[in-house]
């Protein structure tokens, strides 16, 4: 799994490229924690290139959300692939995290 962190207008975009599973879940958490330590508060996780996510991956999203909230910020997800969205729905995780269409949409409402 590869990551890219990009400073955008009013938020930070973290792109996750590859498969988000039990192996890579800790890497994602580490990557987001690092961004938070560097002072990024409003984070958008771009999942456009995340082709697979298992329940460890979903768990990592919750972990990242918690880290961001505890630092006084927020974490949102965007650009989620259709089949991953279906998994979010089937596990009810879309009740916790809204999958935003585009990275730009995530913080549009604040």
């Amino acid at each position: 799994m590869k990551f890219a962190v990009l400073e955008r207008n009013g938020f930070t975009e973290v792109s996750a490229h590859g498969r988000l599973n039990m192996i890579s879940a800790p890497m994602l958490k580490a990557e987001v924690s690092r961004a938070i330590e560097l002072g990024h508060r409003r984070i958008v996780l771009n999942l456009g290139e995340t082709e697979f996510m298992d329940s460890s991956g979903l768990g990592a999203l919750v972990g990242c959300l918690k880290a961001a909230r505890q630092a006084g910020g927020d974490l949102r997800i965007a650009n989620v692939r259709e089949q991953v969205q279906m998994v979010l729905k089937l596990t009810s995780m879309d009740r916790i995290l809204t999958p935003y269409g585009d990275v730009e949409d995530a913080y549009r409402n604040a």
């Binding site: 039990m22 879940a25 329940s55 768990g59 919750v62 918690k66 995780m93 879309d94 995290l97």
Partner: protein, 653 residues
């Protein structure tokens, strides 16, 4: 192996004869003049019959997994060794054995004691070391379940072998269990727990040959084998799915509840005289509006993440305004406020939904000052936020609703459609407690945990479980109610021998011709099922430890219903300072004395013609039987711990 057909025939006969007996007891035998003993006794007998019926159902479809399927190559496995305060030497011995497991794997020592020397030693051997991070500070630790959940987040294997610190695994443990996971629905494989430090006569009843044998095989036949906390391999994906589902469900419930409760708190606060201040009133109204908007957003389909973010931001802003305006004078002093809220903050952190509900109800009922109300709403929002701040980890794969996390976790796994396997081969050798006090503590904890699960998540109502599965869980829980029946079984002979009161009309042929066949069949069933295993110790302890079982029931009920602490203690694994035994078993000692006095009195009363001969004989036999049951505790109290040399030749099993 004894033919399953013979066992089924005897089991069915036993239950039928039992039904005939108990029907007669209820309809034709009760001595209403002595209802105070007659009713408890027939109730206790009914209890025992249900127990026998559940046992019969359990062994009806005993699984017989002869050869384990071959373990496929290339699976990734973590071996977890859980320790809290055990002797590091002991842990290292287990670690060495774990490292020597043949199938490729990673070994981890999960040290809940966070001992630096433990870390150093483990790493020197080449094992990984995990202890809890800073996120656990000030959060509920959830004992072993918490330790395992913490490690699950630090590791990555597809499968996890869990070992208690004193369970020394054999090298083939993974080769013999991983093959079962070829079935993609299997969530865990449990193997027996067997103890190497127990003499042949097993004075403390440590071995459980009936449970780790016919009972687990029977449960396995109904796809309801229990996960027992150690010597089991689990599928990570199953645990993670469980954790995820639990997180979503719990968060939804808590956040909705907090928004509603918060509005009620504010509404009450607005009626206070201090709320007449226009600034205060405006502030309260603003926070109330924020909460209402949060509820509305949830109703219209916003995610909990978005809705809570909005509400928290808005409430925080409002409270900052308040502080800026220096309105603190409007409230009681800060200390009083803290006091007002302290109780709630402690309570709201509990993991149990019922506790949260109770805490919130108390909070809402309280007449808080406006500032107090604002603060408590903020505390409420923090406590039940989407990031599950009241817990160290949002996702908790192993259930934390009970001190026996294992049973609760396996019940939830079964309810989500996962399958389980009990593999009947000793693949690890453990250490049992070596003195009576430790043994009593351990049994109390098991019983408390089981009763907790029963009261919190009654298997009989659990959707997703098949009916046999529900009954398998219920059977184990039911068996822990035996303490109450035991009291009655001890009181029965005393009532006659001391006071001449017979709970039945008469000890007629009608009684014997119904009772004896049932009793005999019942014992035959036990012998057939046990297949040579020694089950007598277990039978003795199930009655002799009645104070433990009763205390477990009452303390677990007080814990679940009223939030009282359990008085939880970790099982001591090594012989600690020897505690005196008598203070721990005085009820049994008094009973034994009473029973012996009863026998003597009974003979005297008979000599004086105050009672019948048959009644006296039957009740003396009964009393002696009771004393023999209780006598197990004498051996237990005098037990000096395991002497390996004495039984060295029997150690290889």
């Amino acid at each position: 192996m004894m033919s399953i057909h013979a066992i089924r025939i005897v089991a069915a006969l036993t239950v039928v004869m039992g039904l005939i007996y108990i029907t007669w007891r209820w309809t034709a035998s009760l001595n209403w003049d002595a209802w105070w003993i007659a009713l408890p006794l027939v109730a206790a007998e009914t209890y025992s019959l249900i127990d026998v019926a559940l046992f019969s159902l359990t062994i009806w479809r005993m699984s017989n997994r002869e050869v384990a399927p071959t373990a496929p190559q290339g699976l990734t496995v973590d071996v977890f060794i859980t320790t809290y305060n055990e002797d590091p030497e002991l842990v290292l011995e287990t670690t060495r054995a774990a490292l020597a497991i043949r199938y490729p794997h990673t070994t981890w020592v999960l040290d809940d004691g966070a001992r630096p020397e433990m870390r150093a030693a483990a790493e020197r051997l080449g094992a990984g070391y995990v202890s809890r991070g800073s996120e656990w500070q000030g959060k509920p630790r959830h004992a072993k379940a918490g330790n395992l959940n913490n490690a699950l987040h630090e590791t990555q294997g597809e499968f996890v072998l869990i070992l208690d610190a004193d369970q020394i695994p054999r090298p083939e443990i993974l080769d013999q269990t991983l093959g079962y996971f070829n079935n993609r629905r299997v969530a865990f494989v449990q193997t027996p727990q067997w103890f190497g430090n127990v003499p042949e006569n097993d004075p403390l009843g440590s071995q459980a040959p009936l449970f780790y044998g016919p009972i687990q095989q029977g449960k396995d036949g109904w796809n309801a084998a229990f996960f027992c906390g150690s010597n089991a391999v689990l599928r990570r994906e199953a645990l993670m799915q469980l954790g995820l589902a639990g997180y979503v469900e719990d968060t939804e419930r808590r956040v909705s509840r907090a928004l509603t409760a918060g509005r009620r708190v504010l509404r009450t606060a607005r009626r206070r005289p201090e709320a007449r201040d226009p600034n205060v009133a405006a502030l309260l109204a603003r926070v109330e509006a924020a909460l209402a908007e949060g509820s509305r957003r949830l109703d219209s389909g916003d995610s909990f993440g978005d809705a809570t973010y909005f509400v928290q931001a808005d409430v925080d802003a409002a409270v900052r305004t308040l502080v800026a305006r220096d309105l603190e004078a409007a409230s009681a002093d800060a200390a009083a406020l803290r006091a007002e809220l302290a109780e709630f903050e402690d309570e709201a952190l509990g993991d149990d939904p019922a506790e949260l509900d109770a805490a919130v109800d108390r909070l809402v009922a309280r007449d808080l000052s406006p500032l107090g109300a604002l603060e408590s709403v903020r505390a409420l929002l923090d406590a039940v936020s989407v990031e599950r701040l009241h817990e160290a980890q949002p996702i908790m794969p192993l259930s934390t609703i009970s001190v026996t996390e294992d049973m609760s976790t396996s019940m939830r796994l079964h309810a989500s459609g996962w399958r389980s396997v009990y593999h009947h081969e000793i693949l690890a050798v453990g250490l049992a407690p070596e003195d009576l006090p430790s043994m009593l503590t351990q049994r109390l904890r098991w019983a408390q945990g089981t009763v907790q699960v029963m009261l919190r998540e009654n298997p009989l109502n659990m959707r997703g479980l098949s009916w046999p599965q529900r009954l398998m869980y219920f059977a184990t829980m039911w068996s822990y109610l035996s303490g109450f029946a035991a009291v009655v079984y001890f009181a029965g002979p005393l009532a006659y021998l001391l006071f001449g009161v017979l709970p039945v009309h008469a000890l007629s042929t009608a009684f014997f011709e119904r009772f004896v066949p049932f009793m005999v069949l019942n014992q035959i069933l036990f012998v057939l099922v046990a297949q040579g295993a020694k089950t007598w110790r277990g039978q003795q302890y199930s009655l002799a430890l009645f104070p433990t079982w009763i205390r477990a029931c009452t303390s677990a009920a007080a814990n679940v219903w009223f939030g009282r602490p359990l008085g939880f203690a970790v099982t001591p694994k090594s012989r600690g300072e020897r505690r005196r035994a008598l203070p721990l078993v005085w009820p049994q000692a008094i009973l034994a004395v009473l029973l012996i006095v009863g026998c003597v009195t009974g003979v005297i009363r008979w000599g004086f013609g105050l009672s019948q001969g048959l009644g006296t004989v039957v009740n003396i036999v009964w009393a002696i039987f009771d004393v023999v049951l209780l006598s197990v505790l004498v051996g237990a109290a005098r037990y000096q711990g395991y002497e390996p040399r004495a039984v060295a030749d029997k150690e290889e099993v």
